[in-house]
Amino acid sequence: MSTTLHEPDLALHVEDLTVSYHSKPVLWDIDFDVPPGVMAAIIGPNGAGKSTLIKSVLGLVPAVAGHVTLHGRPYKAQRRRVGYVPQRSSVDWDFPTTALDVVTMGLYGRLGWLRRPGRRERDEAMAALELVGMADFARRQISQLSGGQQQRVFLARALVQKADVYFLDEPMAGVDATTERAIVDILRRLRDEGKTVIVVHHDLQTVRSYFDWLLILNVRVIAQGPVAEVYTADHLRQAYGGQIALLDQDTFLSEEAAAEAAVRAG
């Protein structure tokens, strides 16, 4: 294509993004960049606009200002390179359909109008279910699945999209420990293949062990960058305010002390 690319070296580039709801800002002047091949978390208190940020990037929520590019092009031109896992609670799980059926839905975009999923699509969906450890549940009605199993089905649906950039909205919320580990393993594998994974995350305890890139959000951007630089008590306090008391302060203190000691020794 002859059009010039905007910030082509970034998997995701968000500039000046502002979103409002009933004329109150939900996101204000967001500048947010994610390099390719990282596993990034978006954290922030309730109502910080974490989900809204993802939805706005994907065009599900209209922005009043700002622009977004994925690998240099706007989302509309890059749909095929994006995979999306919405919040599990966003759909009615009593819908009459099977796990395999839901995963096949990830291929509808590629199929286009009037074409129906056939043998090939079923095989692809089956392979994705196997990847998330749900092959035995393929024919199961989705209402009979546990929360963790439902989440894995959603992940499998994004996997069949064979995307370069994945957006996941709270994939670890309300799932069992086995599922959480399975999800993290799969996301890591995607990252190691060079894909970019962007996750709205709610559990501060696991941020450092799961992710290598971090955005701290509270309507505005508080901080962003490599987790090691950004995940500091100071930034968290700025984002969460008084709620930070819930956190394990000792780890921060001991780490800050260790860092100081290292600086003095160096």
């Binding site: 819908f95 509808y108 009605q141």
Partner: protein
């Protein structure tokens, strides 16, 4: 009158064919409406069809079915649009929006109806039949219109099957794939308005909503996939349409539309009660079995504890102790445990006084009791 005679009657043929068409189209489209949690949108649109019927009549000047149906479609769709704008643009919740739209449009319809009745136009006779339907007035030409609408709706559903499915299940994901979700939703809504138009003549604006909702709700009880649900809803719609029509023909004088609604409602009742996994009876049965199993486990572990307390794996427990411990007769439960090979009703040794036979755990019973206790411990941990 025999069924064969009935079916050779020209009027009854028309009514039966019309009822079948109505059942078919409303079963299919109702499935999507119910799954999208928009059952009441059908109700609003059918009530809102009344002013359109009157306007159609006023504009055409006669009881021309074409202009009446066009009018009904127009105001029905307009009501849906008003409702959508109300909830999108204001902070009004969906139920309030539906309620307001329904009442306002229906009130306008009734005002127009009384206005027309006051005009002393000879051709206005029977316009109020659109309130509750007048199946017997169905003409062959009406059937062509109803059939045409049904065919178009079914063709659209077949062509856009996977799109409609995804939009009903997960509209957000559909948007992220680039599907024109808003247009697909409008299309689904307009098609429900079309189904309403098909039903106006048969069941009228007041009862039409039941025709949209009932077959879908009944079918949902029995089906695990959308394909099955839509096919079954269509079948239920057709069968109860035909049944209601024949019933009304057999009992001259009873209104067809309400009989159709009552037929489909009884299918709903049966489905809610009997359907496997989702029906009331199924649920009651499952609870009864759970209670049963719990009782078994309790008596079994009591036997086990008594044996453990006496440090005797073949400790002989008297019936009276178990009854006292549980505060009820445990005889039946013990008999069942015996049948499952977990306990035995053994003779007391001749040298021991007391009742001649007592309960003893079998080795299988001990294993089972230990398994139960262990799983209880896990749950409490």
């Amino acid at each position: 009158m025999s069924v064969v005679e009935l079916l050779s009657d020209y009027t009854i043929q028309n009514v039966v064919a019309g009822a079948a068409l109505l059942g078919l189209v409303s079963g299919v489209l109702g499935s999507f409406a119910v799954l999208r949690q928009q059952s009441l949108l059908g109700d609003t649109m059918s009530h809102a069809a009344l002013p359109g019927v009157c306007l159609g009549f006023i504009i055409a000047g006669t009881r021309d079915i074409g202009s009446i149906l066009l009018g009904a479609l127009a105001t029905g769709a307009l009501a849906a649009l008003v409702m959508l704008l109300l909830t999108r643009m204001s902070r009004l919740k969906t139920d309030a929006g539906l309620g307001i739209t329904l009442s306002v449009f229906f009130a306008m319809g009734v005002v127009l109806l009384t206005h027309i009745q006051g005009m002393n136009n000879a051709s206005q006779g029977g316009l109020d039949a659109f309130l509750f339907g007048q199946a017997a007035a169905t003409l062959r030409s009406d059937l062509w219109i109803m059939g045409g609408i049904t065919a178009v709706a079914l063709a659209l559903v077949a062509a856009l099957w996977k799109e409609f499915k995804l939009v009903s299940f997960d509209p957000e994901f559909a948007t992220s794939l680039g599907m024109p979700v808003a247009w697909l939703e409008v299309l689904l809504t307009v098609m429900v308005a079309l189904a309403v138009v098909v039903g106006l003549q048969m069941v009228g604006v007041v009862l039409m909503a039941a025709m949209i909702i009932a077959p879908a709700v009944a079918a949902r009880q029995w089906s695990r996939r959308l394909e099955d649900m839509v096919l079954l809803a269509a079948l239920i719609g057709v069968v109860s349409g035909i049944f209601g029509a024949l019933l009304s023909a057999l009992s001259r004088g009873l209104a067809t539309g309400p009989l159709i609604i009552l037929s489909v409602s009884s299918v709903v009742l049966v489905s809610m009660t009997l359907a496997p996994e989702r029906g009331f009876l199924w649920e009651a049965f499952r609870r009864m079995r759970a209670r049963h199993r719990l009782r078994h486990q309790q008596v079994l572990t009591t036997l086990y504890r008594l044996a453990a307390h006496h440090a005797d794996p073949i400790y002989r427990t008297e019936q009276g102790m178990l009854d006292t411990y549980h505060g009820l007769r445990t005889r039946a439960v013990l008999r069942q445990l015996e049948r499952r090979g977990l306990a035995e009703w053994r003779d007391t040794p001749p040298d021991e006084p007391g009742p001649p036979r007592r309960w003893v755990l079998t080795p299988a019973g001990i294993t089972e009791a230990e398994r139960v206790l262990e799983s209880l411990g896990r749950e409490n941990a």
